[in-house]
Amino acid sequence: MFLNQFLLLAAILFCIGVYGVLARKNGVLVLMSIELILNAVNINLVAFGAYWNANDVANVSGQVFALFVIAVAAAEVGVGLALVLLIYRNRQSIDIDDVDMLKG
């Protein structure tokens, strides 16, 4: 089994996610990009877990970590979508460039 294929996939996903977070104006797309970053990490976790414990099938710690990350990401997205929803209600827009009230 080759680890590098999984790592490459994860790196590509991560970079797409970072690009989405930094460049997109749509709040929902920013949240979706964060999901991409998290899933890139999940791939890494599962890949390393399978790689290091190839002889010990009962050890699933990498997979368990990934499950944790998925659960936390779900909660995070819940909060984030609620924020986006409230911003929309107040401004009729979800462009995050408009949300700059903390400007010094």
């Binding site: 970072v18 949300v99 700059d100 009230m101 400007k103 010094g104």
Partner: protein, 741 residues
């Protein structure tokens, strides 16, 4: 009888406790309780004093011998006796010392620890009985230990009884005399404090302690003279008494210091000083100066010329106070001082062998001038005050001519009849609308029979009429002056005889003006209540009886057994550390002459003031007589000398100098300090406050504002920008992690 002589400190302590209780609870518990506490305390003190006197009498009758005597001598010298085997040796050493030091004494002194045998060698004289001294350490300084304690001998015991009896009667008398007074509690508190101080004074075992007691009685005198301070006259009198006494107190303080050094500079112990003064080791010049300084204290406290002027003014106080303090007890503190430190005076002034009779002469002079002044007073109390001065002069004169026992005996008898006279005057005034002016009295003998009778007895006692107390003591003094040192004291004898005449005459004047003739006042006099008359009766009884305590051995051929005669001399005169004195025998011709003089005085007063015979109005017709009268009325111009000349001439320059000093030096210093402080403050304001501190504060504010202006540019509020920076930071960290670490 239990032995009180060791625990005699209880007596003044009891009175001090009474003072504190009255002071703190008197107002709350009311006047009856206040008077009750005072009277109860003095009564107990009187009982204890009688016990002490009884102890002393039995001690003289059965003197201690051997180890007990030696222990007493050690203690008397301010040493602590030790128990056990060593006592024998120390004892012998100590007794030998005292034997050597007092060996010039005609009195017997313990020479080998068996005083009874030694004493029996001198027929007739009783053996040396050391006083009972009990001390505790007061303080230690410079390797010297100063003690604080009690000394009991016949003199102290006699004073204890005198003070307690008169204080008790005055306490009782005052319940009526000061009835309803605004400061009743205050008055009783002061009476208790005075009694405590006086008892403390007479029991002092060293001169330092005597000084404390001396000042304490002075303060009480000040407080009680000014009892009715609402009137300026009374506060002035109190101040005058206090300040005049200060003049003498300086002498006393110097005297205490000088006698301390004259006696080797190791102890203030009275007996030590006395013994040292007699031993011949002492510097006689130093002793003379010490004695003269001490006599300065005596001059003011005991009203000797020229510092007697405060005593008549002190009559501004309540009459019972005058009786207690200014007739019977406090004013004799000076006489007591001479009696107590007699060896210092004896050696210093070389009594009995020199031609320098300072003490005797001042005493004799005082007795005459006091007697003369008593004639021109209209105030009954002032007559008595000048009489007191005169009699104090008598006592001092007696001590000055070496008639110790006569002087102290006169102190004893005088206390009672003079207190009786004062309380009698108070009773009269109580009946006559509180006046003491004899011009507003007269004819009171019918209205106040008890007061009249007691006043008459006391007057006769003071005049020295047989067989009352004054007769015995006065004649002893005259005999002492006549028989002392080969006619050196003739002038004192003449002074004494003149005063005997004067005393009878002025007392006769006071008596006839007050009790005979027609009543000239506007009140309705009546006899005083029992609370006032009973003390008078008791004192009159004392005036009759106490003269017999020193009944002479040979009275016109009447020879009583020796166990009855001269008891006062036997028990009161010290036999330890005491100079050798000759005892004048009873002198019949002197007794006759002085009694005739006294009777003549009384008769002339009777003729002049009662029968209205003689040259009345002479003072307004004759120039010389008028001048004399004016001279007396102005009290020899002594007050004018003190306040006008001495105080007036000194206070001007002193005030001017003080003013100059104040204006130029003190104000200069103060202003200089102020100006300097202002200059420094200005510099500090400009430099430190404005530049450094304000600069730092403003600078930090400006700095933070500028930093804020710069940093606010970063804060765009754009989330993605923050995120970019975050990622950039993460990349840098990752780079560091990968490539550097």
């Amino acid at each position: 009888m239990f032995n009180m002589i060791d625990k005699v400190w209880i007596i003044p302590a009891l009175m001090a406790a009474s003072f504190l209780v009255i002071l703190f609870f008197g107002k709350r518990w009311g006047t009856r309780a206040t008077a009750g506490i005072g009277i109860a305390a003095v009564s107990i003190c009187l009982i204890l004093s009688v016990v002490v006197a009884g102890n002393w009498i039995s001690r003289v009758n059965h003197p201690p011998t051997g180890a007990a005597l030696a222990a007493d001598i050690l203690q008397a010298n301010g040493l602590t006796p030790q128990t056990g085997e060593t006592i024998g040796e120390e004892v012998n050493a100590a007794t030998k010392d005292s034997g050597e030091t007092v060996s010039t004494d005609s009195h017997a002194t313990a020479t080998d620890g068996h005083s009874a045998e030694a004493g029996s060698e001198h027929g007739g004289e009783h053996e040396s009985v050391p006083p009972v001294v009990r001390t505790v350490t007061w303080f230690q300084i410079g390797g010297l230990e100063f003690e604080f304690g009690t000394l009991v001998d016949g003199l102290a015991a006699m004073m204890l009884i005198t003070v307690c009896i008169i204080s008790l009667l005055v306490h009782i008398y005052s319940t009526e005399y000061l009835h309803g007074d605004v400061r009743f509690t205050h008055y009783y508190a002061f009476l208790s404090l005075f009694t405590a101080s006086m008892l403390f004074y007479v029991l002092s075992s060293n001169t330092l302690q005597m000084l404390v007691g001396w000042e304490l009685v002075g303060v009480c005198s000040f407080g009680l003279i000014g009892h009715w301070w609402e009137e300026k006259k009374n506060t002035d009198a109190a101040l005058k008494a206090f300040l005049t006494n200060r003049v003498g107190d300086i002498g006393l303080i110097l005297g205490v210091i000088i006698t301390f050094f004259a006696a080797g500079g190791t102890s203030f112990n009275v007996l030590h000083i006395n013994e040292y003064a007699l031993s011949g080791n002492a510097n006689t010049t130093l002793l003379l100066i010490g004695a003269l300084c001490l006599f300065g204290g005596v001059t003011s406290k005991s009203g000797q010329f020229p510092l007697h002027t405060w005593l008549p003014d002190a009559m501004a106080g309540p009459t019972p106070v005058s009786a207690l303090i200014h007739a019977a007890t406090m004013v004799v503190a000076g006489v007591y001082l001479i009696a107590r430190l007699y060896a210092v005076f004896f050696s210093g002034l070389a009594i009995g062998s020199s031609s320098f009779h300072y003490v005797a002469f001042i005493g004799g002079f005082t007795t005459i001038i006091g007697g003369l002044l008593a004639f021109v007073q209209h105030d009954l109390k002032k007559v008595l005050a000048y009489s007191t001065i005169s009699q104090l002069g008598y006592m001092v004169m007696a001590l000055g001519v070496g008639a110790w026992t006569a002087g102290v005996f006169h102190l004893f008898t005088h206390a009672f009849f003079k207190a009786c006279l004062f309380l009698g005057a108070g009773s009269v005034s109580h009946a006559c609308h509180h006046t003491f002016d004899m011009r507003e009295m007269g004819g009171l003998r019918k209205k106040m029979p008890v007061t009249h009778a007691t006043f008459l007895i006391a007057t006769l006692a003071l005049a020295g009429i047989f067989p009352l107390a004054g007769f015995w003591s006065k004649d002893e003094i005259l005999a002492g002056a006549a028989n002392g040192q080969e006619n050196a004291y003739t002038i004192m004898l003449i002074f004494g005889l003149i005063t005997a005449f004067l005393t009878a005459a002025y007392m006769g004047r006071a008596y006839w003006l007050t009790f005979w003739g027609k009543y000239r006042g506007h009140a309705h006099p009546h006899e005083s209540p029992k609370v006032i008359t009973v003390p008078l009766i008791i004192l009159a009884g004392c005036a009759v009886v106490f003269g017999f305590t020193n009944f002479p051995g040979n009275f016109f051929g009447v020879k009583l057994p020796s166990g009855v005669t001269t008891r006062f001399e036997h028990f009161v005169e010290p036999t330890f550390a005491f100079p050798p004195l000759q005892h004048a025998e009873f002198t019949p011709w002197l007794a006759v002459v002085s009694t005739i003089l006294a009777a003549t005085g009384l008769f002339i007063a009777y003729q002049y003031f009662e029968k209205n015979r003689g040259p009345h109005g002479l003072t307004s017709r004759n120039k010389v007589a008028h001048a004399g009268y004016t001279f007396l009325e102005n009290k020899y111009y002594l007050d004018d000398l003190y306040t006008g000349v001495i105080a007036g001439s000194t206070k001007g320059p002193i005030a001017r100098a003080a003013n100059w000093f104040n204006q130029n030096i003190l104000d200069g210093i103060v202003n200089g300090i102020g100006l300097g402080a202002r200059k420094i403050a200005g510099f500090v304001y400009v430099f430190a406050d404005q530049i450094i501190i304000d600069g730092a504060v403003n600078g930090s504010g400006q700095g933070s504002e500028g930093a804020g202006q710069l940093l606010r540019k970063i804060q765009t509020g754009k989330v993605q920008q923050y995120a970019s920076i975050l990622f950039a930071g993460a990349v840098v960290l990752a780079g560091v992690l990968v490539f550097v670490v």
